[in-house]
């Protein structure tokens, strides 16, 4: 009998601190599988955000640096520019990337930095206890939108993949969902592609992953999965928004 599914080597054996059902575990696994697949763990540096996944350095077997809140793309830029032989990826949540770090992500993308960014969108701040995120859906109640997100006062949920895809500097932009096995397989392909882009020096790659946060949504895992399908995917459509074959300039 042959083992057909095992934990990727790029992850260690620590029990992850994430809440039951939390999407970070699967997202970590997909990144780790890419590191295994391309055999790049030994030359990869990850940039951890501020948020629940700040502790990702406890789980990966590659080097990881912690960036100030929102500044992961700038830190990644500094590393990649100085050591282009390294594979550099930033792993950021929705508060980190789409709120406080919006300037950094847009400009790193626009400069076409040859880095990979994994963006975890679960429509809520996790670590701080469930506040409104820039991706919080209209009507969604959080601890700082207690009456439901209202576009008059809070604006609209921000679609990052669609925002970054038109930038000339980006080469691969996709949004995937971790709600069911078939979508996880597609997401895996996408994460692989994003790293491949970097390995081939094609340029800035970005994968947004829709994930659940049962704790801060106040739902059980199954209700949370249903929420991705019923509420998130209709607003945050899945797909590859941009894919260049080679580096090209206009």
């Amino acid at each position: 009998m042959k083992q057909v599914f095992a934990k990727p080597k790029a992850l260690n054996d620590e029990i992850m601190h994430y809440c039951p059902g939390c999407g970070h575990g699967v997202a970590h696994r997909l990144v780790a599988e890419a590191l295994d697949h391309y055999d790049i763990t030994g030359r990869t540096v990850g940039v951890a955000p501020v948020g629940c996944s700040v502790l990702m350095y406890d789980y990966f077997n590659c080097d990881i640096i912690e960036a100030p809140h929102g500044r992961a793309p700038a830190v990644a830029t500094g590393m990649k520019r100085s050591r282009s032989d390294l594979i550099v990826f930033a792993y950021q949540g929705d508060g980190d990337l789409a709120s406080i770090g919006l300037a950094e992500i847009v400009h790193a993308a626009n400069r076409g930095e040859n880095i990979t960014v994994i963006f975890i969108n679960n429509t809520v701040y996790g670590m701080t206890g469930g506040q409104m995120a820039p991706t919080t859906l209209l009507g969604q109640k959080t601890t700082t939108s207690p009456y439901g997100r209202n576009f008059n006062t809070d604006g609209y949920p921000i679609r990052m993949a669609e925002m970054l895809a038109p930038l000339e500097g980006t080469t691969y932009v996709a949004r995937m969902s971790l709600d069911k096995p078939v979508n996880i397989l597609k997401a895996r392909k996408s994460v692989f592609k994003a790293f491949e882009m970097q390995i081939n020096n094609v340029g800035f790659s970005f994968v947004e992953l829709l994930t659940i946060c049962p704790t801060n949504w106040g739902m059980d895992s199954m209700e949370s999965i249903k929420r991705i399908q019923d509420e998130m995917i209709p607003y945050f459509p899945l797909g590859v928004f941009k894919e260049k074959e080679t580096e090209d300039y206009i």
Partner: protein, 181 residues
């Protein structure tokens, strides 16, 4: 009058609610009180703790090294905090989840109360915190069970108001087990 108590257990055992209820009751009794909880990522490791200080004088430190009473709601809390009670102090142990054989102290008053089992008998394991408070009221003499029960309305959220009588019963069950009124 001065009394301080440390309550510790798993997240989800209602540790913070118990502390807050005690603080509310002390305030309604006319005492000064401080309630200091663990918060944020501290709790994600699965441990919840809080300190309640009650006094008829101004309260200095809300941080306490040697609380008069420790309520240990699980085994790790018993192991970790039994040493902090001063000689003559009080240790109340949830004997459903912590092993009384692991009590090393000879110089303090130790009471085992099967809080989780008593709570399950009342219909819900989550009432163990109320059983604990009932035992505390009976054993510490710092505040009465009626005073604690009287503060339930202030700390239980509106949608759970219907559960107040059940909580009162759990408090009384703690009193009963710890030796009656």
């Amino acid at each position: 009058m001065y009394y301080d108590v440390f309550i510790s257990g798993f997240g989800g055992q209602g540790i913070l609610l118990a502390g807050q209820l005690l603080a509310e009751a002390a305030m309604e009794k006319g005492l000064n009180v401080t309630f200091f909880p663990s918060y944020g990522v501290e709790m994600r490791g699965g441990t919840a703790r809080c300190t309640v200080v009650m006094s008829d004088n101004e309260i200095g430190s809300p941080i306490v090294d040697n609380p008069r009473c420790v309520i240990a709601m699980n085994q790790p809390s018993l192991v970790r905090y039994q040493e902090s009670t001063p000689p003559g102090g009080l240790l109340i142990v949830n004997s459903s989840l912590a092993n009384l054989d692991d009590v090393k102290r000879q110089d303090i008053e130790v009471h085992g109360v099967p809080m989780s089992e008593l709570a399950v008998e009342l219909g819900n394991a989550r009432l163990s915190n109320m059983v604990a408070l009932g035992a505390f009221a009976r054993l510490s003499g710092s505040i009465s069970s009626d005073e604690i029960a009287g503060a339930l309305e202030a700390v239980i959220s509106e949608r759970n108001r219907s559960l107040i009588p059940l909580n009162e019963r759990a408090i009384m069950e703690g009193v009963r087990y710890a030796g009656g009124k």
